[in-house]
Each structure stands twice: as structure tokens, then as C-alpha cells.
Amino acid sequence: MELTLIDILLGILKIFSFVMPVLISVALLVYLERKVLGAVQLRRGPNVVGPFGILQSFADVIKLITKENILPSNSNKFLFIFAPMLTLLLSLIAWAVIPISSKYVIADINIGILYLFAVSSFGVYGVIIAGWASNSKYPFLGALRSAAQMISYEVSIGFVIITVLLCVGSLNLTDIVESQKNVWFVLPLFPMFIVFIISCLAETNRLPFDLPEDEATLVAGFFTEYSSISFGLFFLAEYANMILMSSLTVILFLGGWYPPIDLFPFNAIPGLVWFSLKVFLILFVFLWVRATFPRYRYDQLMRLGWKIFLPLTLIWVILTSAFLYYFEMLPQ
């Protein structure tokens, strides 16, 4: 197999066709978040820039880009700049394996789910490097919290993924979606679905688990020292990660691009629309949780991760595999 120049150019175009929609939906998600929070708290939310305030996030981005980027004098300069770049990079390269419809995916690799798991577990490096390189107390505490938190919740995410894989028999994301043609995994594996959503909140450092940036005790956590576009990159990465984890939830539990019922008015709608609608639903849950729940205390967070989720998911792995083995439903 020889790579030609055209292949490479096509590849780059394909990558742009994923990255640009992700970045634009990040901007819209930030707008949506402010609108949802406003609605929950009986406010109006952004309503000045553009129609219904929809251009507010673009205005914010322009503001962030034009501001001065301040480097703290005793920081490790290279790592300080590298950390936000790494965080955004990791939240974008994960999209390479996400199948948003039956044909449309950049890399349909054998081990797609492991790739996603690996990339999401690297995410902690951006936070911990940022916290250390700032050479300041609050960011460092935020980074330490984040490292412990993300590792703890990755364990239960791993077990949830194993449970789904037991039912599918393949590590390929397209296969995972296709095996949900008849019944979505959210029905037989409902407790795992709940555990997964909660772990996603912890993995993306969203409320009620946003202890790494806990503004009540740590100023702004790991990005206290960041300003202008380097702060903007962290911000972008956080929301890109939210969309990514929502897509992963949709792929693992909500049947990807399949319509809820395989009947005429539903299956005429293209898979891409169904996928986006489901991702939107999960994202709304993220925002809804943010508006509803108070922040966890740190020991409560750790207790939830290690003493409740870990045993629960472990038992479900054993139960599922025993069930599948006993009824001879293990995929071949």
C-alpha cells in the first residue's frame, strides 16, 4: 500500500470535516449552557450579541484571543504553554474513531474503544502538568485532586466498557453500535448506564465533581495562572471533552445512529441526525446536573468512586458474563 499525495490531502480534509463541527458545537454548547443555567435560575442568559445572543461565545473567543498571554515569572515556561495545547489536542484526536453514522468515520480501527479509553485517560496529563508548571499553590492542589479523581473514575469506566464489550464481542465502535440494532444497551444494562454518566461527569471535571477547579476553595484550580488564549484552550478542551464523552455514551448505550423504533417516520431520518439528537440529550443532562446539584466534598467523591462504583461495576461484570455464559448468548 503506497500513500500518495492525494490520499494525504483527502485525509487532512476528512480531519477538518470532523474538527470544525466539533469546535463550532463547542461554541454553541457554551451558549446553550448559559441559556440552560439562565432558564433554571429564572434569568435570561446571554441575549445581546447576535440573534438571541447566539454569537456570545464567538465574541468571548475573540476577546480571549486578543488579550495578553501572561507567563508567571517562576513557572516552567515550556510546560506551562504545552499543557493547554496537550489538553485540546487530546480532546480532538479522540474524534478520529467516533462513528457518527454507519459510513462516516475517519479511522474504523479494530480497537476503537481502547483507543478512546487511552486518550481519555491521557487527559489528566494536561491538568497535572498545568498545575505543576504554574508553580503556585492553588493550581498544584487542583492538579493533585484531579489526578486522584480521574484515575479513580477511570477504573469504573473501564469496568462499564468491559460489560458492554462482553455483550458485543468486538472492540470496534461500529460493531458496538451495530449490535444495538434491536435493543439499545441502556435497557439491559441500565445501572451501568447511570454509573457511566456519573463517571463521565467526574472524568470531564464537570459539576458536581469539578473539585480540580473548585472556585470556592482553590480560586480556579489548575488554571488559576492561565490567561487569554491558553485559558481559552482549556475551556475549549473541557467542552470538547463533554461532547466526546456524550458521544461515547451514545455509542455504548443509546444505539449510536439507530432510530428508537425501526418504523417509517423514524428510519427515514438520517443516522447523523439521530446521533446528534442523542448527544444533545446527554449534553443537556450534563448541564441539568450542573444547575441542580451542589459540589461534592472530596472524601465523598473518593468514597463514591472506590467504595460504591467499583464494587457495583465489578459485580455487574461478573453477573453479565455469568448470564451470557449460562444462557449461551456469548457473542462468537
Binding site: 503506497e2 479494530n110 481502547l114 489528566v124 493533585l144 489526578a147
Partner: protein, 198 residues
């Protein structure tokens, strides 16, 4: 051509980053170079078509082990560590390890040529399934033994770090949850100019 070029790129980068692990003065940089080393070896595994082994290496070593290293190293006081220590002290140990590893490689490649029954034919079966087929059947004992080794290490770590002292105050969650509002909050209506004697 493309694959060969990529191989040399990653291989040279791998050697460079593993040397930097040893020669960086700042221990945090050492750990970050170690992460880079793991990442490059992941790429090399993927290049030879062993994508499962490669990505597991990334998940386990970069996603968990190296983060804990970084976690510990960051909490050390850098000024203390920066003192250049004598490398000579560790040379005999390093030579011993190097000899063991080299003799293992020679044993595996020259003396005991890997038999064809372990290597599966490159058929329709992908290498995740190929590993799954032999791991729990042919290498069952080895797999269980390595599991026991890890379990022992884990119990050892817990025993070493878990200290029970009566002076350490711990929170009892069930106790906290069973508390009612009347045990914690009492309402008073103090007269003007007088306080409350609790």
C-alpha cells in the same frame, strides 16, 4: 517506504527520550520523558501490527503507572533532588540488570527459537482475538500467577501505608447520615443585649 521512515522516526525518538529520562536533572522532566518513551514504544507496537498490545501498554503505563509516578515526584522538594548524586554507585546494579535482559533476549531469539504454534497465522482473526484465544487456555497458569504477584504487591502497599492510630480522626459515613437536624441545629430567640449560653 512510509512505514520504514515512520519506524526510524519513532525508534530514534524512543532512544532520545529514554536517554533523556536518565540525563534530565529535574525529576519531573524525567517522568515526562518516560511517558514519551512509553508513547513511542506504543507507536512501534502499532507499526508491527500488534495494536492491542500497543494500546494496552499506553493505557496501563501512560494512563495509570506514569501518572502515579508524576504524582509522587511532583510532591518532592525539587531543590533537594537537584543535588547531583554519584552515578558510579549504581553502575554495578545497572550492569547486572543489563546482563539479565540481554541474556533473556539472546535466549529467546538464538537458543530457543519461538515455535510456530504460538504465532498464529495472519488470517482473518485480529490480534485481540488471537491473544484472547491463548491467554486463558495455553498460558492460564502464567496468567494466574502474574495476577497473584500483582495482588501481593497491592496488599503489601496497603499494609505499608494503612496506619491505624487512635489519634487519627475518621469520618463515619453511616453515623453522619443518621444525624437528624434537631441534633445539629437548635433555634434560639435571644433577648436584645444578651447572648446565648450554649
Amino acid at each position: 517506504m512510509f512505514v520504514v521512515g515512520t519506524f526510524y522516526f519513532f525508534a530514534i525518538f524512543l532512544i532520545f527520550s529514554s536517554l533523556s529520562v536518565i540525563f534530565s536533572k529535574n525529576p519531573v522532566n524525567s517522568v515526562l520523558f518516560l511517558v514519551l518513551t512509553f508513547l513511542n514504544s506504543t507507536f512501534l507496537f502499532i507499526l508491527i501490527g500488534a495494536e492491542f498490545v500497543g494500546i494496552i501498554l499506553a493505557i496501563v503505563y501512560i494512563g495509570a503507572v506514569a501518572i502515579l509516578f508524576l504524582f509522587v515526584v511532583m510532591m518532592l522538594d525539587i531543590q533537594l533532588i537537584d543535588i547531583v548524586f554519584s552515578v558510579k554507585k549504581y553502575i554495578p546494579l545497572a550492569v547486572l540488570f543489563a546482563l539479565v535482559i540481554i541474556s533473556e533476549i539472546i535466549y529467546l531469539t538464538v537458543v530457543k527459537v519461538v515455535k510456530g504454534n504460538i504465532l498464529l497465522e495472519p488470517s482473518s482473526i485480529n490480534n485481540t482475538e488471537a491473544i484472547g484465544d491463548v491467554l486463558y487456555t495455553k498460558f492460564f497458569i502464567d496468567f494466574q500467577l502474574s495476577g497473584i504477584v500483582l495482588l501481593l504487591a497491592m496488599i503489601g502497599a496497603i499494609v505499608l501505608t494503612h496506619i491505624y492510630k487512635p489519634s487519627i480522626k475518621r469520618q463515619n459515613i453511616s453515623h453522619q447520615n443518621s444525624v437528624t437536624a434537631s441534633e445539629r441545629v437548635s433555634l434560639h430567640n435571644p433577648k436584645n443585649g444578651e447572648g446565648i449560653d450554649a
